[in-house]
Amino acid sequence: MRTFLRIMSAECMKIAGFRTWLLILLSPLISLPIGALSDMQEDRVITWQVLLSTMSAVHALLFLPVLSGLFAALICRNEHSDGGWKQLLALPVTRTSVYFAKYALIVALLGAVQLLFLAGVLGVGWYRGTEGGVPWGLLLNSLFGGWFACQPLAALQLAISQGWSSFGAPLALNVCFTIPNILIANSSTYGPYYPWVQPVLAMSPFGEERFGAFNLPLESLMIVVSGSLLLFLGAGLIAFWRKAV
């Protein structure tokens, strides 16, 4: 455990920097005008639920999957570019702890994104005088669900990024698989099993107007997410154990 924390602290150093902060801020910032400008009918005051669903649409449908891949690629790029792997793995560390430290850092970064997004939703909500008190249950469920549903994707992207020394290729692949989200979200057959669409399924507020894969009960979705998380994390770890450096 101490080794793990030490590696985590070293990983934080490597990733710290302007670019990382920008990436964490990007999606919450973009969601601000979306939330501020949506549903501007005069006669109706916006509800928290509508606000959350409009703001999270782009965030969860596009940014969360892309960011999961981007963070994974960034965290591995440092090691790929100038012989970092061989230096790191020749230190007294186990590969398992290195892999989990990198994974934990991606998950933590995604967590930071979600928290900033929450701040964004609250800010816009108060600015627009959204009716009713803050529905904390709804908000936290949505944020936590989105965060958790990103994790299989983060694990998958980490598995790919540790293997590919290219920085762009895993990203391009990730974006290619993210684009069809718009279609796949409508399919109740494939949607729940498609890792790239899971964040938006988990994040959308569960109102009356359910359609496509949004129809699925949250519990079933979480079971699928947990299963694929274990699968991708395990596969990535085994690949990392066997990696010749």
Partner: protein, 303 residues
């Protein structure tokens, strides 16, 4: 009994059926500088990567500090500093931060960073991003990183590769200081004999994945010492005299060629030959340079 730091037995690494390292028996004693010598692609880096657990051997065993590597990897690597092939660094971080990232994993006190920077003479450059460093500076940073954990064993793969002559000189004197000052055992690889000759006490020569020579530098120099050639009036009878005296020898192009021997024996033999009535025209020593010897060894010649 000597303290063995690294011992490999029948180390084998195959890539798709082709052996990159074959039946390698490495034996490195505590406190020595061991020169690992061989042409490019002979298997030096592959061996070193196996010693650090970066790749798994196909078969064979590795013991470091008397312990089996795979079962005691963490414990062993805590006492090992390494620089493998080209220097490793995080380009966007400064030299200090590069070392700090490693320090956090090793858990050594912060003062070590300043100490190792001082050792490799990078003090004053530590705040610049490493991507702007020259190759020599990156190489020195790599050595600083290897020294950070105060290792007992230092494994340096081609540490002078790509450096200018003054950089080579600097690194060489640094490496030579280590065993004396801090009792560190050093394994240093190179494809240049002159490099190894000036640093190492023991040398292992590897060719096509196989160890073809492993002994002290002094012994290597002796082996390469060459022979004595005598030009005289009657070589055939002179040869008989030499053989009778137990000097061995043979005839080559009408000259008597004798293996290297002590000055006293040379003078005795010459005296006897003169007394037997031989006219001696020339006594010359032919020295094979170490370089020629090395090329002969790595070129496939027998020892």
């Amino acid at each position: 009994m000597k303290d063995t730091v690294i011992e490999t037995k029948n180390l084998l690494k195959e890539y798709r059926g082709r052996a990159a390292v074959k039946n390698l028996n490495l034996n490195i004693t505590k406190g020595e500088i061991y020169g690992f010598l061989g042409p490019n692609g002979a298997g030096k880096t592959t061996t070193i990567r196996m010693l650090l657990g970066l790749i798994k051997p196909t078969s064979g065993s590795i013991e470091i500090f008397g312990k089996e590597l795979r079962a005691n990897r963490m414990q062993i690597l805590r006492k090992v500093g390494s620089l493998v092939e080209s220097p490793s660094y995080y380009g966007h971080l400064s030299a200090w931060d590069n070392l700090e990232a490693i320090r956090r994993i090793l858990g050594v006190p912060k003062v070590r960073i300043a100490e190792v920077l001082e050792i490799v003479s990078l003090t004053g450059e530590e705040t610049r991003p490493v991507k702007g460093f020259s190759l020599g500076m990156k190489q020195r940073l790599g050595i600083a990183a290897a020294l950070l954990g105060s290792p007992e064993l230092l494994i340096l793969d081609e540490p002078t590769n790509g450096l200018d002559p003054s950089g080579i000189q600097e690194i060489r004197s640094l490496i030579k200081r280590l065993p004396g000052e801090q009792g560190i055992t050093v394994l240093v690889s190179s494809h240049l004999l002159s490099e190894i000759e000036q640093m190492a006490g023991t040398v292992g020569i590897i060719r096509e994945g196989q160890m073809v020579y492993q002994d002290t530098i002094a012994h290597l120099q002796q082996q390469a010492a060459g022979h004595l050639r005598l030009a005289l009036s009657e070589p055939e009878t002179a040869l008989m005299t030499a053989v009778r005296r137990g000097c061995g020898g043979e005839l080559q192009e009408g000259r008597l060629v004798l293996p290297r021997m002590s000055d006293a024996r040379v003078s005795l033999l010459v005296k006897e030959l003169v007394e037997e009535g031989h006219a001696i025209y020339r006594v010359e020593e032919h020295r094979q340079s170490l370089e020629e010897f090395f090329l002969q060894v790595v070129g496939g010649g027998e020892l």
